[in-house]
Symmetry: D2
Subunit: 406 residues, 4 copies
C-alpha cells in the first residue's frame, strides 16, 4: 500500500493533478535538527524543469512542513508535509482519454480499481515520489549526523552509453572472457565508491560522474527527444559508513529491503547488489571476500564483491547496487494500439514528457536507500541496546560469542 517501513515509516498521498501531494513520516528520532531546507534540497534535485532534458513543467515543489517539529528540532511525533500541485493542467491529457497509454499504468489502474483518475494511472506518476524524497531527506539527516552515512547515486548508463568498464563494472563481463582469468573490481570503481559526492554528481545535468560519458549521454537523450522517443538507463548508488549488523533475517535481508524499495520506484526493471549478475559467473574462490584486520584494528574484507552485505546483514563495507529504469512509456510519436474497448487505432500523446528519467531518478534512489537504512538502524538499535542490558554471556564457547574487544 502507501506505507513503507516498520519503525521509520513513511505514508504518502497524492496523484498528478489533485490539490497536493504529501507524506506523513512517523518514527523519526526526537531531537534531530531539521529545517525545511534539508528537505527542499533533495526535492529540488528531483523536480522537473531542471534542464532541457527533462519535462518543462515548472513546478516549484516547495515543501510545507506541518507538524512534528518545533524551533527546528524534531519532536519524535509524526512529521506531516505537503507540496501543492501548482501546475494542474488535466486537459493536456484529454485526447488520450480513449486510449490506455501503452506500457503505462492507465489500463492496469482501471483493471485494479474499476475507476481511475482523469490523469491516468495517477499514483504511478513520478509526482508521487515527492513524498518519498522528502522522507528520505529526513532519514538521511539523521544517518549523516549520527553515523556519518553518505548516500550518493549517479547515472551509470543511458541507453547503450555506459560508464567505461574501468570506472563502473559492466552488468556482465564480455562473453569471451574466461572465468579462470583474474577478474577483480577495478581500482577506479573502488575509488569511485569511496569518494563520489553529490556535488560531483551534480556537475552535469546528466548526473554522471564522468564528463565525457555524460556528454555522450546528453546527446543520446537529445536524440530520443528529437525523435519524439524516449530512452532508459541505470542508476548506481553507494552507501558509505553503514554500521555492521543491519538487515533482518530471513525475509527482510538488507538486500531484499533495498530491492523492494528500488523496484517500488516507477519505471524500474531491475536491481543488483554488489557483484550482481556478473558475480554469478565468477567462481567462489575468486568471488569470496576474505577477511582482514584493517589499519584501525577493526575487521574488514579485502575485496567487496558482496556489496557490503553478507547473509542479508551489512558488514560495514560500502553498500552499492544498480537499478535499471526502462525507457519512459509516454512518448509523443504516434503509436498503433487499441482503445479501452479494444478498437484498434493510433495514439499520439501530447503534453510534457521526460525523454529519460534517470537524472531525476538519482535523488529518488537516494531517498529510498535512506528509508531502508534508517528503518533497519532503528530495528537493529532496538535489538542491540536491549541485548546490551543483559548480563555478559559466560557459558558459551568463545567462538559463539562476539569478542567484547571487537
Amino acid at each position: 500500500m502507501s506505507t513503507f517501513g516498520t519503525l521509520f515509516r513513511v505514508t504518502t498521498y497524492g496523484e498528478s493533478h489533485c490539490a497536493s501531494v504529501g507524506a506523513i513520516i512517523d518514527g523519526c528520532p526526537p531531537g534531530l535538527p531539521l529545517e525545511p531546507q534539508d528537505v527542499q534540497t533533495q526535492l529540488s534535485r528531483r523536480r522537473p524543469g531542471q534542464s532541457n532534458l527533462t519535462t518543462p513543467r515548472d513546478e516549484k515543489d516547495l515543501v510545507h512542513l506541518q507538524s512534528g517539529i518545533e524551533h527546528g528540532i524534531t519532536l519524535g511525533t509524526p512529521i506531516g508535509l505537503l507540496v501543492r500541485n501548482e501546475d494542474q493542467r488535466p486537459r493536456d491529457y484529454s485526447e488520450t482519454d480513449l486510449y490506455p497509454r501503452p506500457s503505462h499504468a492507465d489500463w492496469t489502474y482501471l483493471e485494479k480499481y474499476g475507476v481511475k483518475a482523469s490523469s491516468g494511472g495517477g499514483r504511478s506518476s513520478a509526482r508521487e515520489t515527492i513524498g518519498r524524497v522528502a522522507a528520505g531527506a529526513i532519514a538521511e539527516k539523521y544517518l549523516k549526523a549520527v553515523y556519518g552515512i553518505e548516500i550518493v547515486a549517479f547515472v551509470s548508463s543511458v541507453g547503450k552509453i555506459h560508464l567505461p568498464t574501468s570506472v563502473c563494472p559492466p552488468l556482465l563481463a564480455p562473453a569471451e572472457d574466461n572465468d579462470d582469468v583474474e577478474d577483480a573490481l577495478s581500482p577506479e570503481f573502488v575509488k569511485l565508491l569511496k569518494t563520489i559526492t553529490r556535488e560531483e554528481v551534480d556537475k552535469n545535468i546528466i548526473r554522471c560522474p564522468h564528463p565525457e560519458t555524460a556528454e555522450r549521454m546528453t546527446q543520446r537523450i537529445l536524440r530520443a527527444k528529437d525523435a519524439l522517443d524516449s530512452i532508459g538507463g541505470t542508476v548506481t548508488c553507494v552507501i558509505r559508513g553503514v554500521p555492521s549488523g543491519l538487515g533482518e533475517p530471513v525475509f527482510d535481508k538488507l538486500e531484499a529491503k533495498l530491492a523492494h524499495a528500488m523496484l517500488s520506484i516507477p519505471a524500474t526493471k531491475g536491481f543488483e547488489v554488489g557483484s550482481g549478475f556478473r558475480g554469478t559467473e565468477v567462481p567462489g574462490s575468486k568471488h569470496n571476500d576474505s577477511f582482514i584486520r584493517k589499519a584501525d584494528g577493526s575487521m574488514g574484507t579485502k575485496t567487496n564483491w558482496s556489496g557490503g552485505i553478507q547473509g542479508g546483514i551489512s558488514n560495514g563495507e560500502d553498500i552499492y547496487f544498480r537499478i535499471g529504469f526502462k525507457s519512459p512509456a509516454t512518448i509523443s510519436q504516434a503509436q498503433d494500439t487499441a482503445q479501452y474497448d479494444g478498437t484498434a487505432g493510433t495514439l499520439a500523446a501530447r503534453g510534457r514528457h521526460d525523454p529519460c528519467v534517470v537524472p531525476r531518478a538519482v535523488p529518488i534512489v537516494e531517498a529510498m536507500a535512506s528509508l531502508v537504512i534508517m528503518d533497519q538502524v532503528l530495528i537493529q538499535n532496538a535489538r542491540k541496546s536491549s541485548a546490551a542490558l543483559l548480563p555478559a554471556i559466560t557459558t558459551l564457547p568463545p567462538t559463539m560469542v562476539k569478542p567484547t574487544a571487537n
Copy 2:
C-alpha cells in the same frame, strides 16, 4: 524478520542443526483440499542429495503437518508444519570455529546478534528455506485450483554457460548492437514462457530446459566441484495465468514484492523483471507494449517487454523475471583470510557443500513467487469484492470507469 506476507503469511523457524525447521502458514483460504504430498513434492525437489552435483547430505525432509487441516481440507486456521533435522553433524564445522567463512554469514551474524549458532550463520542456511517451500506449495495449490496459475522456474545460466539468446534473452544485448535495430523478444522465448512445465524442467538434474546447454552446465559444475570451487548462475521464472489487477501501489508494486521475495533467498545478487536491464537500452517506441483486442475479446498486449506488470500492477500477461545467484561461499579449497580476532591465516572448510545452488533454487524461487502472488490475490480480492458491493458509478466520465463489458 521471519514473517512474510500480509493476508497470506508465512513465519519460519529453525537453523541447520537444531531439532527441526518449520513454519506456520496463516491466512490460507478455508476449503482448500490439501494433502501432505502437495507439500512434499516441492520439498523433495528442494532437498539436497538429489544428484552428485549437490550436497550429499541425505536428509529425508519429510513434512509433518500439525494443524489447520482436517480430512484433507484446510480449515482457514494456521497450518503448522515441521521437518525434523535428521542429519545433525555440527562437528563437521568445528575446524572453522576460529574463522568466519569468507562471504558467508558467520561474521555478520555475530556482529548482529553478538552470539551465533555453532553451525555459523544458522538462519542463513539453505535449510531455512524448507518452511518457505512448504508454504509456497500450499499457496500454489490454491492458485492453480482457482485461477489455473502455473509457476515454473528453470536454470538459465551456470557461470558463463547461458541458454542460447534465441531461447532466453541475454541480460544485455551485445554491445555492438544498435538500438535502432529491431530488437524483439524471440519467438522461442515467448513460446518457452507459454509452454514450459516442471516436468520438462526436471528432465535433467540441472533443471535447464535445453538439453545441450544442460549438459554443458553439468560439466561446468563438475569442473567447479573437482577444483574444490563453486559457481553461480541464474534462474528464470514464469508465472502464467495471473489475473490483472494484482500489486499494491505505491510501495508494494508487484515487481517490488517479487524483488523483495527473491532477494530474501540466500545467495541472491540480482533481480530483473520483463525486459529487465536489457530494456534500459531499448527506446520507448520499441519497448512499449501496444494494446490489442485478443481473439477471446479481452484486452492484451502485442508484445510483453513489461513482463506482465505495468505501473506495479499485473496486466494478465505472463510475468517473468530472472534472479542471479552468486557462487556458493563455502568451498573446500584453502582460503587466505583472518580469524575472528583478526589473525591472518588459512581456512580450509570441510563438510558437505553444494558447488552450485541453482538447480535446488528452482523450487525455492517458485515458492517465493507463489507466496507473493497468493498474498496479492487475497488483498486484491478484498478490494474487488468490497467495491463490487457498491452501486454502479454513473456520475463519472466513461473514460474514468472500467466498462462493465470488459
Copy 3:
C-alpha cells in the same frame, strides 16, 4: 504508532499548535461517492465550542480533502486531508511550563521523547482525534452504503449520574442481587439498541438519549465547571447491521480490536462489550445466548449477552459496548504538585478546558468503531471471496460445512 488498520488504514499527524492536523486514509474501496460534507458533519460534532459545557475554543475545523477523490468518487488511492489549526495560542500555556500537569501527558512525553512540544503532550491532545473522525466518517459512508450498518454512540453516564438501569444496564448488578434471580437484558435497552439514532442523540448537548437524565448530567457538568473541576463519564455505542464473520482469530478478535481502538482514544480507562463486567456474575445457564431461527429464516440468538460477538467473531446481532472516560486532567483550580525538577509547588492552569469530554467523545467513539469494522470487513471479504472461488466441499461430514442454504 500513528497508523491504525491493515487494509483500511489511517495515519494521522499533528499536535495542538502546529500548522495543521491531518490524516492519510489508505485502502478505501474505489467507487464510493464521497463529499467533504460527509466528513465535515462528524468533525463538527467533535469540534469544541458547541456549547457552554465544552471548551470555548472556536475552531472551525474545516476539512480540506487533498487527493484520492475525483468528481465526488473515491479512486481507491490514498485520501489525504487536513484541518488547519486556526486558533494557535501557545502562550496560554506558558505559566505551566515549569510544571508537568498532573495526570496529563506532559511528563510522560518528555520521558519518552526527551523533548516535547511547547503545548505539552502534543499528540495526546484531543485535537489529534480530528484525523480519526475524518477517517471514520469515510469508513462509515461505505459501511452504510453497502451493509446498511449504523453506528450510534451516546452518553450513558456523567460522574455518578447514570442512565436508569431499565434504559441501560449498570456495570454491575446491585450487590444484594442474587445470581439465581432471573436477570435478563431489559426490553427498554434492547429497544434502545435497535432504534437509537444520531438525530435523537443530538437532541441535547449532552448527547444522552434520556432527556431527564441529560438535564441532570448538564447540571453535574456545570457544577464541575463552576468548581474549576472536571468530571468523567461513559459512552455506550451500538453497531447495527454488522454481517456475521468479522474478526480475526486469535489475536485480532473483534472485541480485541474494538478494545484497542477505544482505549487509544485520549482519557479512556475502560472497555466492556456485551454483558461486560456484569456478565461475569451471571451463570452460564442464564448468560448463554440460545440460537433461534428468526422470522426471515436466518439464524439468530434469543438474547444478546454476547454483544454480537462470539469466539471473537461477529454473529450478526447488535454489537454494543461501553467506554469509560476519566475526568479531564486539566483543571483550573490550584493543585499541589511538583515541577519537572521535583520542586514542590502549586500549579493553577489557565486556558480553555473541557470540564467533561464525553459529549464530544461520542463522534470519536463512532469513528473508531467504523475504522475497526471497515478493516475487518475488507479482511473478511478477502477470505470469503477467495474461498468462494474454490470448488464446493464434498468430502467433509455435513456438520463441518456451512449449509449452502444458510
Copy 4:
C-alpha cells in the same frame, strides 16, 4: 490473525484435537539464558487438571523447544516450540454435532470460514493459549533479568464473590456514595500491588490472595459445578518495575495494547486500567495524580489512579488492570436452542468442562501482559538508543527538554 507484536512477535498454531499446538517467537533479544523449565512453569500453571475445580483432562503439556537456543542461550533467531495434543478425544463432542453450542464459537467459525474443525470453534479453544503462555514466559524472563519487572495476576472475583473493597477497589463505588467524599485508593490495595507474588497467589487453587474470599469462591464454583452450570469472574493484574516511556502514541497507547491483548483471551468481556470505570465518577481534582520527588530523587506520583500510564505512556508507577471473564459457555445442563439448520431442540453437552476459567486464566493474563510490555520495551529502546546518539539539544527552551540529571 495469529501473530501478535511488532518487534517481539509471537505466532501460534493449533486447535484442540490436532497433532500439536505451538508457536514461533521472533525477535527475542540474543544472549538471554533460557531453559525449558522457564517456559514449563507457566504452562503447568495454565494446564487443566490442576484441581477438581477445573477440567479433568490430564494433559501433560510438556513443551518441546525446537530452535533459536543453544547451550541454554537465545541466539536472537526465532524460537519454535510445540506441545503435543496427547488427549485427543474428539468423539466426546459427537452428540453436539447438530447443534452450535450457545455462546460458543461453533456457529461463528462456520459463518466465517464456511468449514469448521470437528472439535467446533477449534482456535477459540483455551488450548490455543498454550503458545501465548510459552511466549510470555520467554518475554518475562527478559523483563525480569533486565528491568526487574514483576507481573502478577490474581483472581479478584468469582461471580458475585468479590475481594473486599478494602483489598481491591470495586468496579464502581456504591451508588449512594457522594463524589464530594474523599475517595482514595485503599492502603491495603496499594500494598497488595506493591507486594503480591505468584507464590502467594498460588497458595490456594483459586489463585485469590485473600484466603477467606478464596474459600467462598471455591464454594461458588462447586455450586456451579454441582448445578451443571458455570460462573465467571475477574482477574486483576499488576506489573511492577516498568520503566517510564513505554507505549506508542497515538494508536498504540500502552493501555490500548494491553486492552487488545487481554480482550484477545477467550471468554473476556471487559478491561479497565487504573481507576477504570470507577474513575469516571471521581472529579479531576481528586483523580489527578500529583507529582512528587521520591526519596531516591526520581519523580513519581503521590497517588496512582492512572494505573501507571498517562497519555498512553508508562510513567514508572505500578501498572494495574482488571479483566472480566464471562461464565464458560459450555455447560452440561440441557439448553433449549436450535440446530445449525434452525430446528429447535435441546442440547446437553457431554465432555469435560471448566465450571470457571479464572484460576487458569491467571498465567494467560500474565503472559499477554509480558508480550505487550516486551514489545513496547524493544520499540522504545529503538527510539531511545537512536536518539541518544544525536548531539545534545541546545537550542530549545529548557522546559521543552528532558533534564539530563533526570
